[in-house]
Symmetry: C2
Subunit: 227 residues, 2 copies
DNA sequence: CGCAAACTTGAGCGTACTCAAGCGCAGTGG
DNA sequence: CCACTGCGCTTGAGTACGCTCAAGTTTGCG
């Protein structure tokens, strides 16, 4: 059994990641905890690579993870960020289609797919929970399609900050990822991300305690840009 | 930017859509067929709207469907196209997050969610099939993220044509959708799509029998752009 | 045949990219 | 204590790719 109190931050890491406000149904997660093992991952260490056998699913206990797709010439797309409490690695095929990497030193709960399958047979409710989790991921990915396909740089950064603020459950956002990760997530360059954040600061929509610590001063201009 | 009502009003001749080469596992689909009803939908008619209660799932029997997200100022993102044999409308939440519209006059198989849930309880294998379908959708959406975030116009159009060619099971592609739909799917403008198709034709990569009927002459330049 | 919609093509513009410095902070060693 | 170094971030100048605005052409159907 895994209580919220146990999900503490890594002592070596200065970045605190609060738990997301709404977690998935506790029952399914607790079930997973009983059949999983813990794994510590260093900063920027690969958790799995594109093409690896998709034999495990993961839950972030502390830290932060990104899933990434690379084009041959080095162009990079960050598909998603996963913070404490969130699951990743659910795949339909035999192999992972994207790689996953730790953004900061992280602790993961690892569940082997074959053990998960055995649990699924015993508990039909768990199957439903997994499906809902996958469907929610799909929803998020689709919303991100609209961002990448149809929003301007300012709108993209504003949307990103708003969603990070929601997940942080506060006005102050501690970003675990650097500007390059944000750029590759939003389909922009690092320079454009930096310039846009500066612009939002000039407009008094946000305030920077440091580059990685952003406070939302005024939601309205951000929300307006969120469209 | 075109408003919703202005989109694609021309009653073009009915377009024939061959079945995709590989369908999903027949068992799950046949199961669905036994508990579903048929529905005919006119061209450009909405099947469900963003915000409607998500109480049905669909399978395209003939025709073609697009799922769409609109921003307030009219900017539009086409999330996906569904051809004959493909399913859509699987949602995690209570309501649909995107609208679905028929691209051409189409026939749909409609399955009520509550009936589906009853089937699921009886047949655990069906639950697995549904999950795999959702996970495959997620995979497709994520691949599309990379296209929208990191590919050039030529690469986007080339990728699109390649994937349509795969689904058409032949060298010749009959496109059910117009240029505006393609543009909104690829995150481009209609002019850029048109210009890029012309460019690929000049380069002898493709050949146009008509605007909606494209034959692939040389996969190599397309594949190279696909990255 | 005639009209409207869909598609194509052209010219000029603007947003975000590229290339290139410059800045700021943390860790290190003299 | 302060220079030194490395890294991440910011800022600047010029460019290019795709967008906007505006015809022109083709297609399909009444």
């Amino acid at each position: 059994m895994l209580s919220h109190a146990e999900l503490g931050r890594t002592p070596t890491q200065p970045i605190r990641l609060p738990l997301p406000p709404r977690s998935q149904p506790a029952s399914a997660e607790d079930d997973l905890a009983t059949i999983g093992t813990r794994q510590n991952v260093e900063r920027n260490r690969e958790i799995y690579a594109e093409g690896d056998a998709a034999d495990r699913v993961f839950r972030v206990l502390s830290g932060a993870v990104r899933t990434v797709q690379l084009l041959e010439d080095g162009r990079r797309q960050v598909n998603a960020f996963y913070l404490a409490g969130e699951m990743f690695g659910l795949e339909a095929g035999e192999t992972y289609r994207f790689s996953a990497e730790a953004i900061v030193p992280s602790t993961l709960l690892v569940v082997r797919r074959d053990r998960l399958a055995r649990q699924l047979a015993a508990r039909p409710a768990l199957a439903g929970a997994l499906w809902r989790m996958t469907a929610r991921e799909l929803e998020r990915a689709r919303a991100h399609l609209t961002l990448l396909g149809r929003k301007t740089a300012v709108e993209r950064v504003a949307s990103f900050l708003m969603s990070m603020a929601e997940r942080s459950a506060g006005e102050t956002i501690e970003l675990p990822m650097g500007r390059q990760d944000i750029a590759d997530f939003l389909g922009l360059t690092i320079e454009t991300v930096s310039r846009t954040i500066s612009l939002l600061e000039e407009r008094r929509a946000i305030e920077l305690a440091s580059a990685r610590c952003i406070r939302i001063r005024d939601r309205r201009p951000l929300a307006a840009m969120n469209a």
